[in-house]
């Protein structure tokens, strides 16, 4: 489109905040009581990650692959894309991330970060995504029915995955970061454009992941001197 510089983010926001939050209400309603189960799955992923050990971590990656594909189809493709045509292009990216998670579940090829601040950041993100994010609805003055639940809504699912990834070390793990990071930026921008204070949440997740990545990079040379 020409004169693209004269367009602002607002020009591309096609829905009202009311319609946006109503999606989560409808999603929770449509799959009830599945949100209770996926919430439990979030707890299981955190537990498996905390246990460490290749098989536990592989099971956690498999669960994440499952919920990414579920969110891709049920939320992005059949719901969100209906009010925002751009999301039709994002849903396949979620499927790709699910495949990548499945790949690491099958192939393993990673170890757990040595103890310290980096893995703790991962646990923190995992716990926040499962327990904290659903509480944001009432904290931001919205009805509880609009709560975003791990495995049902994208943000908590994506942030939990980032938490999980931070825990791991492996050669090709960086391939799994772009899609969740880009999602968080898109989600943060959407909320910001909507004038919603909750924009801090996906942006902070990205900042935390960036800080953890830097911390991990700084630590590594000291542990494996050249």
């Amino acid at each position: 489109m020409s004169e693209w510089w004269s367009y602002s983010a607002e020009d591309f926001l096609l829905f009202s905040p009311r319609t946006y939050w109503r999606m989560f209400e409808l999603q929770n309603e449509a799959y009830w009581p599945l949100p209770v189960l996926t919430l439990a799955l979030g707890g299981i992923v955190t537990f498996l990650a905390a246990r460490g050990g290749a098989n536990f971590l592989r099971s956690a990656a498999a669960i994440l692959a499952l919920v990414w594909s579920f969110v891709a189809y049920t939320f992005l493709w059949t719901r969100y894309a209906g009010i925002n045509w751009a999301i039709a292009y994002v849903a396949p990216a979620f499927v790709l991330e699910a495949l990548l998670l499945l790949l690491i579940a099958v192939r393993a090829g990673f170890t757990v970060q040595p103890r310290g601040v980096v893995p703790w950041t991962g646990y923190l993100l995992l716990a926040f995504a499962t327990v904290g994010v659903p509480l944001l609805a009432p904290l931001h003055g919205r009805d509880r029915s609009t709560s975003e639940i791990f495995g049902i809504a994208p943000d908590p699912t994506v942030i939990a995955t980032l938490g999980f990834l931070i825990l791991l070390r492996g050669r090709f793990l960086w391939l799994l970061y772009p899609i969740p990071i880009l999602w968080c930026l898109l989600s943060g921008m959407t909320l910001h454009t909507m004038g919603d204070a909750q924009a801090w949440m996906p942006f902070t997740a990205v900042a935390v992941v960036a800080a953890a990545a830097i911390a991990a990079a700084v630590r590594r040379p000291s542990r494996t001197p050249a």
Partner: protein
């Protein structure tokens, strides 16, 4: 200054034959908007229409779809005809289709939609038509001039074949007025759509006079700047002079400012609320401000 000097009747601009026969007070009471002719055909069109950007993009939510249908019902009850949409507006088109079906396909409907991305053509138009469930569109516009060199001939062809009644182009927020002006001069357009309101008055310089000169109907979009103008005036009391044109709210005063321009054919405020659609349609009835009062409305809004 007496009311008669500040304000003038719709009839002095143009009015429906029926509307002209009704006393002003009665027309205001029935809240029917006045009508103006589409210059290229003489067909009368009520001067307040309905936009659907954001407000009608409610997805598959049955409850919200019914709310939109209720807005449409109130719109037709209040004498409205033109509903404007675009393939860009997410689910707005199927939601309109749902409403039309629910309301038993109101005869009054004047269906206005757009062609949008450069990749799309007849297939997109057909998809859009199926969403609305209408046999053909009254008006199709080239959205934001995207690929207009290819899209305008397509629309003129459809019109010649009787598959479309009117052809137009759109822009908003002052974009590409030079090109709009050139196309208005060179092409046999029936309609042009752009932004015009008490704060954004750029169109007064060239586009509105040119539309009048070339006999092109004008659709005014973003009359409330997507609600920003309403928020801007929200805390200010309604000025006393609003009563001179029978405006009972800021929204009505803002709309009357636009509608009083003689080159404007129809303004298309969007709303998700039944009370607002009634209020907006009612603004198209009764008195409209004269030049002096328009200047005061604009100054007042700009000062806030």
């Amino acid at each position: 200054m007496p009311t008669t000097r500040r304000a003038f009747l719709q009839t002095s601009v143009a009015a429906t034959a029926a509307g002209a026969l009704l006393p002003t007070a009665l027309r205001a009471a029935t809240a029917e908007p006045a009508s103006r002719p589409i210059p290229s055909s003489g067909e009368q069109l009520p001067i307040v229409g309905l936009g659907t950007w954001i407000t009608f993009n409610v997805g598959e939510d049955p409850q919200r779809k019914d709310e939109c249908a209720a807005v449409m019902a109130a719109f037709f009850e209040s004498g409205g005809r033109m509903i404007d949409s675009s393939p860009m507006y997410g689910s707005a088109q199927p939601v309109i289709g749902y409403g039309l079906q629910k309301l038993g396909r109101p005869k009054a409907l004047f269906a206005a939609d757009k062609v949008w991305t450069s990749g799309d053509g007849p297939a997109q138009i057909e998809e859009t038509r199926a969403y609305w469930g209408v046999p053909r569109f009254d008006l199709l516009q080239v959205h934001n001039l995207v690929d207009w060199e290819a899209k305008l001939p397509l629309l003129f062809e459809m019109k010649a074949a009787g598959k479309l009644r009117y052809v137009g182009i759109t822009t908003s927020e002052g974009r590409r007025h030079d090109l709009i002006e050139r196309i208005m001069r060179d092409q046999p357009l029936d309609f042009v759509q752009f932004t015009y309101n008490a704060v954004d008055r750029e169109a007064e310089a060239r586009l509105l006079p040119l539309a009048a000169e070339r006999g092109i109907a004008v659709i005014v979009n973003r009359p409330f700047e997507q609600g920003a103008l309403i928020r801007r005036v929200a805390n200010a009391p309604l000025p006393g002079f609003a009563a001179e044109v029978g405006a009972t709210s800021w929204a009505q005063l803002l709309l009357k400012f636009i509608l009083a321009h003689p080159a404007v054919t129809v303004a298309i405020p969007a709303t998700s609320r039944v009370d607002h659609v009634r209020e907006n349609l009612a603004a198209g009835g009764g008195l409209l401000p004269d030049a002096d009062l328009r200047a005061r409305i604009s100054a007042q809004v700009r000062s806030l």
